[in-house]
Homo-oligomer: 204 residues x 2
């Protein structure tokens, strides 16, 4: 990267400019999606040329990946930090509720993920592999947690860990969609808590 060989001042400027571009790209993709959000829109928001964006990020696809990485790194960090040094199972599910509680304050992020996840269902979309892997990871994490709870004797009778894991992830996506349409009527955190409580035989 150019900034690495430049002076300290210009390195800081480059980093700041990259950050500005990422935030503008985030806003544009969240509002219009990846396919319809243009480099021009992003460039206009930052007040630079499209060439300026390509200097920092190479291509529109690279920029999308940087936006996703940034958000995902933060979300994974939050997630792992919160369940670190705790037993598996219940703490994981509590961390899920905490994450959703944070997300309520970031409607732009929910909008971005909802739109990109839908666009990404097309096999040739640049975010297809990302979301495909993300769903596999999310379901697997929840599955492991529910298996641990079963081993601890904390699952309610009739709860099947595989079904419950897929359903939990589906519930998260579906509630986010309803919440984007009817933010005052949908209590994502409350509904998720209730659903998780119905899976386990101890207080969440």
């Amino acid at each position: 990267m150019t900034g690495r060989t430049a002076s300290r001042g210009s390195y800081a400027k480059t980093a700041a400019r990259r950050q500005e571009i990422l935030e503008a790209a985030f806003a544009v993709f969240a509002e219009r999606g990846y396919e319809n959000g243009s480099l021009r829109d992003i460039a206009d928001k930052v007040g630079i040329s499209q060439g300026g964006i390509l200097f920092h990020f190479g291509s529109k696809i690279d920029l999308l990946e940087a936006v996703l990485d940034l958000r995902d790194a933060r979300s994974r960090e939050l997630f792992t930090t919160r369940i670190a040094d705790q037993e598996p199972g219940l703490p994981h599910l509590r961390a899920l509720v905490d994450l959703v509680r944070d997300n309520v304050n970031e409607p732009g992020m929910i909008q971005l993920y909802t739109l990109l996840a839908a666009e990404g269902t097309a096999a040739d979309h640049p975010a297809h592999a990302y979301f495909s892997g993300r769903y596999a990871w999310l379901v697997e994490q929840s599955h492991l947690s529910l298996l641990a709870l079963r081993d601890q004797g904390l699952l309610r009778a009739g709860v099947e860990p595989g079904h419950a894991a897929r359903s939990l992830v589906a519930l998260l996506d579906g509630l986010q969609l309803q919440w984007l349409y009817r933010p005052t009527e949908i209590d994502m955190v409350g509904d998720l808590r209730t659903s998780i409580q119905q899976l386990i035989s101890v207080p969440l």
Copy 2:
């Protein structure tokens, strides 16, 4: 409409052409979304000019509405036909499972709804009011059904009809999304049946 005053032959031709355009629009919107799917793409698919499309449908927004009306009319018809002359509650939930069973054979429709529902979260999207109303309607229908089941003493202990109604609709959306990414791993019908069975104290 021009066709109404034309001869019988040209009326039939107009109707056939409208149908062709609707099917092309359905395919293009399902693959690329409304914002990114262009009139040119649709015109190319039918082999007519963009002006030809506007002659039949007035505007891109009118065309979108016609596509949604067509699908929604069919889905509502299926839905109401199936629960007609049956007691409320259980038959409604069975009809929901049947609908999803049919939808599995129409991945294009699931793709279209998933993409448009996500795009439509933007308040200025032409499908915003449609999906906002659709979610209110779907949740309300499920709520009424679950209230009827409660009155019949068929709900399991701890099931709250409002929460269960929002969750059922969310589950449908979320499972469809996971299914679009991993069609061989996700059994939408089976997962939905299991979830509904967990709400009620009699076999579904």
